[in-house]
């Protein structure tokens, strides 16, 4: 049984088609959901939660039908929305405990787990204060806490680093990674920033215009390529010339020389050339594919959102 399964899931709004016959099958893990703004990430998450009715198609999470068995399913699901969602007039403790009960936990258990969860997300004395005066960072922690408090099997996190400064972003990503690995909770994390997905996730799903573009493990996506990267201590140009003399095609990329590896004989040629030129060989490795190369259309830099605190 897969964790999440959708069959030709479609959602049309008045003017746009947010999801267009999406077929998806996902196993437990830390799953990154990428796509440009408006690609359908939030719509997919909301449909899986039963917050939105799809126009057509079906969805299953942990074997529950998301439309017919919503309340049962959602006892085991945590959701952190992208937008603000916290009331201002109650304390974090009171609110998170309330949310735990709405997820089905008895009152006493809800209180106990609230204390622990708020500690896990790093909220201390301030948890007894009204949330009115909380900073963005504290609010994000409470939002994460309310999604975690009932010990869900699946957490859906929609752009969880939105509005955070670089330090807050680091801490949030670290926390999410820890929830996924140490706590063993499956996470679906949506982000429009590849670097975040790359840091935290072990599986990646890309959607664009409401359609699945790819779904693959991070390891497969960043598999070694057949390109060798060479770094030497000394004049790399000299080495490049020497290699070309021996019929090797060489590209230069910053400090590195990149050569296409066809057979192991090439390694000998490189070694001998380096020795002849009396250079120091600093690095000789098969370069890995980088995610950015796969997603030219997506923003890679973290600037735009992070600075808007």
């Amino acid at each position: 049984m897969s964790l999440i399964r959708t069959i030709s899931l479609t959602k049309r709004f008045a003017r746009v088609t947010a999801l267009d016959g999406l077929d998806l099958e996902l196993e437990p893990g830390i799953i990154g959901l990428v796509g440009a703004n408006g690609a359908g990430k939030s719509t997919l998450i909301k449909i899986l939660l039963g917050l939105l009715q799809p126009t057509s198609g079906s969805g299953e999470v942990m074997g529950f039908d998301v439309f017919r068995q919503g309340p049962e399913l959602r006892q085991f699901v945590g959701y952190m929305p992208e937008h603000d969602c916290l009331p201002t007039e109650v304390s974090a403790t009171e609110f998170v405990a309330h949310m735990a009960q709405i997820s089905g936990l008895p009152r006493a258990a809800a209180r106990e787990r609230t204390a622990e969860t708020l500690r896990h997300v790093g909220l201390f004395e301030e948890r007894y204060r009204e949330m009115r005066g909380y900073s963005t960072g504290m609010k994000q922690r409470v939002k994460l806490a309310q999604a975690l408090v009932h010990d869900p099997k699946l957490m859906l996190l929609d752009e969880p680093t939105n509005g955070l400064d670089p330090e807050g972003r680091d801490e949030m990503l670290h926390l999410i990674r820890r929830i996924g690995t140490e706590f063993g909770i499956t996470i679906v994390l949506s982000s429009h920033l590849l670097s975040e997905i790359e840091r935290v996730c072990d599986h990646l799903v890309e959607i664009e215009d409401g359609r699945l573009v790819r779904s693959a493990s991070m390891a497969a996506l960043t598999a070694p390529t057949s390109v060798l990267a060479i770094e030497v201590d000394g004049d790399a140009g000299q080495l490049a010339d020497r290699l070309r003399e021996q019929g090797v095609a060489v590209n230069r990329s910053g400090r590195f020389l990149l050569v296409q590896k066809e057979d192991d004989a090439l390694l000998d040629i490189i070694r001998d050339s380096v020795v002849d030129l009396e250079l120091g060989l600093v690095r000789l490795e098969q370069s890995r594919r980088r995610l950015e190369e796969l997603f030219r259309s997506l923003p890679v830099e973290e600037e735009q959102e992070g600075s808007r605190v």
């Binding site: 309340p71 959602r74 959701y79 929305p81 309330h98 709405i102 258990a109 896990h120 790093g122 009204e130």
Partner: protein, 294 residues
């Protein structure tokens, strides 16, 4: 156990939750309790308590005064009859609803907390039901409680409490019935209006207007219109309806010369209208929350 810098996490290890998960009914119950507490500002700051608590005190005042009179000067006279009580506090009822209903449902829209509720162990309609029940419960504090205080007060004032009970026990179902219908009727109107907008000021004004304007307009039209049509005009005014069905519950005659007396409609008409409106508003509320985006 170690803690690195402030703001980072305690390294306590994560504990799984192996206890019971009580599901949808528990979730509805928890939301109901939380909302009832919210009605009175319990567990909130002092400023959230002032409004509702102040109004409760005002609504209870006539009953408490009566209880005091009964204690100090026991006499065999009733100062306020139960069927008159709501006329005394009509405006308090309307204001209470106008203050509390927007807090009860508008806040979750304003703060976008609805998406957290709807992504948990309940359905959208459950949310509406819990809120409706919570406001009815809150309203009972200013409808049922003062009536009960008065009933007890008048009993204590009577020469013999046993005789009084024997004489007056028939009032108890009337007290309970009128209080519940009144609470449902007013809560329904208030919540349907409050659920339309996240803006608190708008809904407060709109709720007050919904109670007060028809009363004025209805009264005016009643004067102007001819008898055959005019007698039904009062049915558009919630406050007149309240008076009408309260009299019916206690099987009492309206004050001579009052609009209710002149309209001379069967009392049950008011009761049927109030019950229909309560059910209709509940249906509208369920529909609204079935569609609201979250």
């Amino acid at each position: 156990m170690s803690e690195s810098t402030a703001g980072s996490i305690y390294d306590l290890g994560y504990k799984r939750y192996e206890g019971s998960r009580l599901g949808r009914r528990h979730a509805i119950w928890a939301l109901y309790i939380y909302s009832v507490r919210g009605v009175f500002g319990i567990g909130r700051s002092l400023s959230s308590k002032v409004g509702p608590m102040g109004l409760v005190i005002i609504a209870l005042l006539p009953a408490v005064v009566q209880l005091g009179i009964a204690a100090v000067a026991p006499a065999d006279i009733e100062v306020i009859e139960p069927e008159e009580y709501y006329d005394f506090i009509q405006i308090v009822l309307a204001v209470f609803c106008a203050v509390v209903a927007p807090e009860l449902v508008g806040r979750d829209q304003r703060m976008q907390t609805l998406s957290l509720y709807f992504s948990r162990a309940l359905r959208r309609q459950d949310y509406a039901l819990a809120k409706f029940a919570a406001l009815i419960t809150g309203m009972l504090a200013i409808t049922l409680i003062p009536q009960v205080i008065m009933f007890v007060g008048n009993g204590l004032a009577a020469n013999d409490f046993g005789d009084y009970l024997q004489d007056k026990w028939r009032d108890l179902p009337s007290i309970l019935g009128s209080a519940i219908l009144l609470s449902g009727f007013i809560a329904g109107i208030g919540l349907v209006i409050a659920a339309q907008t996240p803006r608190r000021a708008y809904s407060t004004v709109a709720i007050l207007a919904a109670f007060v304007l028809p009363s004025v307009v209805g009264g005016g039209l009643f004067e102007a219109a001819d008898q055959d049509v005019g007698r039904f005009v009062l049915l558009i005014s919630p406050l007149h309806v309240v008076t009408g069905f309260t009299l019916w519950f206690f099987d009492a005659a309206p004050e001579v010369g009052s609009e209710i007396a002149e309209a001379d409609l069967p009392g049950i008409a008011y009761a049927i209208e109030a019950a229909s409106v309560a059910l209709l508003t509940l249906a509208l509320l369920l529909r609204r929350y079935g569609r609201i985006s979250a």
